[in-house]
């Protein structure tokens, strides 16, 4: 599945950006304009939180901070992937247009628990 097909199937719009670590918000979930900002920590071998709830059509930004490794963040069904550089906050803008469960995973091999480093974005009406 190419990116265009993935976006069509997932019904999502995703944008990637990286900000300095200091730009991270202190609270786990805040509003940024119309977008809901959700902080996510990535460390061997888990994402916290590993289940992220979104409303259909609600713009959101995942602000992902890696603590210990150049983890990957990949949502295959939405055509999203990026590296998570330690010391930076990687911002993934997303607006899911249709309800469903979209699994994400670390796709940079990071050690003995790599295969369990995954989670889901759950989009509901």
């Amino acid at each position: 599945m190419d990116r265009r097909q993935a976006l069509k199937r997932g019904g999502a719009i995703a944008l990637l950006g990286i900000l300095p670590a200091g730009a991270a918000t202190a609270r786990r979930t805040v509003a940024s304009g119309n977008a809901q900002v959700i902080e996510v920590l990535a460390q061997r071998f888990r994402f916290t939180p590993n289940e992220i709830a979104l409303r259909t059509g609600q713009p959101a930004v995942l602000a992902i901070r890696s603590l210990d490794f150049v983890h990957g963040f990949k949502v295959p069904e939405l055509g999203i992937r990026t590296d998570l550089m330690p010391g930076t906050v990687t911002r993934v803008a997303i607006r899911a247009l249709s309800p469903g469960r979209y699994d994400f995973l670390c796709d940079n091999f990071c050690g003995g628990g790599h295969e369990e480093m995954n989670g889901s974005i759950v989009v509901s009406d």
């Binding site: 699994d103 091999f109 003995g112």
Partner: protein, 298 residues
């Protein structure tokens, strides 16, 4: 005297099935000219031995590899060579322990009667140190060799933790193949699938499509790989891809359950889902007959 074909028929009764490499509808063209005069031969593929693993998915992990070595040694007719398609060892953060595991693995497989052994790393061997320890003990992570009319290519899609082959290796692949006739039988060994088998389970190679594009202009290409701990057969264009069982624990069929956790160990059948394979190369028409074997003789 029992001949090889009859031997395989008998052996497969207890060990697996005979599977013709070409999937339905595949085209095998122009192989005869490029391989004229070459004899049939066979090799053995072992994969994902994960030496050093300890856990409930295989409480007998410290003996499975040795049993497989004994079974291969007991084959009445020995293969021309034996290939290990990665994850020789289970990953560890400790670089000294990684070298110890690789050394122990090498010592165990040195007991094989066949001395022509071909290796490649898996992500468990190489991703955390870009293949440094592996290279110290086993040499290059990608290379090619020729055997009785078949050109074999070993591709490394694990030394990069992001599962890329990389532009340097892709250019090497292109130049390595450039000297071959388009009809030359080519076999590729790699660890991860080159195609997007299950990206949500990390069963893919990030730039595998580029490698497949390079291979696509050759008429007779077959890929043998590991990583997914089970048999799987797939076709991209005219290129056929065969994954192998592991020698540590089986994994579920792609996307058949929410998580890619190992299948539970069955004490009544401790080697269930494990095994190795023989591949008989029919060089004249670039076909490969696969025979699956259990860890121990059935």
């Amino acid at each position: 005297m029992i001949d090889r074909r009859r031997f395989l028929q008998l052996a497969a009764l207890g060990g697996g099935v005979v599977f013709a490499s070409a999937l339905p509808g595949s085209v095998r063209a122009a192989g005869k000219n490029g391989a004229a005069g070459y004899e049939e031969f066979f090799f053995v593929q072992l994969s994902d031995t994960h030496w050093g693993y300890s856990g409930p998915a295989n409480p007998q992990a410290d003996s499975t590899l040795r049993k497989a070595v004994a079974t291969v040694n007991s084959l009445d007719i020995q293969p021309d060579f034996i290939v290990f398609t990665g994850d020789l060892t289970h990953t560890t953060d400790d670089s000294a322990e990684r070298r110890r595991r690789l050394s122990e693995f090498r010592a165990i497989v040195s007991e094989l009667k066949v001395k022509d052994l071909r290796f490649m790393p898996g992500e468990h061997d190489a991703s955390l140190d870009s293949g440094a320890a592996y290279k110290e003990l086993f040499g290059d992570t990608h290379y090619s060799f020729d055997h009785k009319g078949v050109h074999f290519v070993v591709l490394d899609n694990v030394s990069d933790p992001g599962a890329s082959v990389g532009e340097i290796q892709l250019q090497w692949l292109k130049s390595d193949l450039a000297r071959l006739a388009k009809s030359t039988p080519i076999v590729v060994f790699t660890h991860r699938p080159l195609f997007d088998l299950a990206p949500a389970w990390d069963w893919a190679t990030r730039d595998g499509a580029k490698a497949i594009d390079i291979l696509m202009s050759y008429a007779n290409v077959t890929v043998f790989y590991g990583h997914i701990h089970q048999e799987h057969h797939h076709q991209t264009g005219h290129i056929v891809h065969h994954s192998a069982k592991s020698l540590i624990f089986p994994l579920p069929a792609p996307m058949s359950q929410p998580k890619r956790a190992p299948l539970p160990w069955d004490p009544a059948h401790p080697n269930k889902g494990l095994g190795f394979r023989e591949v008989e190369a029919q060089v004249s028409d670039a076909r490969y007959k696969i025979t699956e074997f259990s860890v121990v003789k059935g």
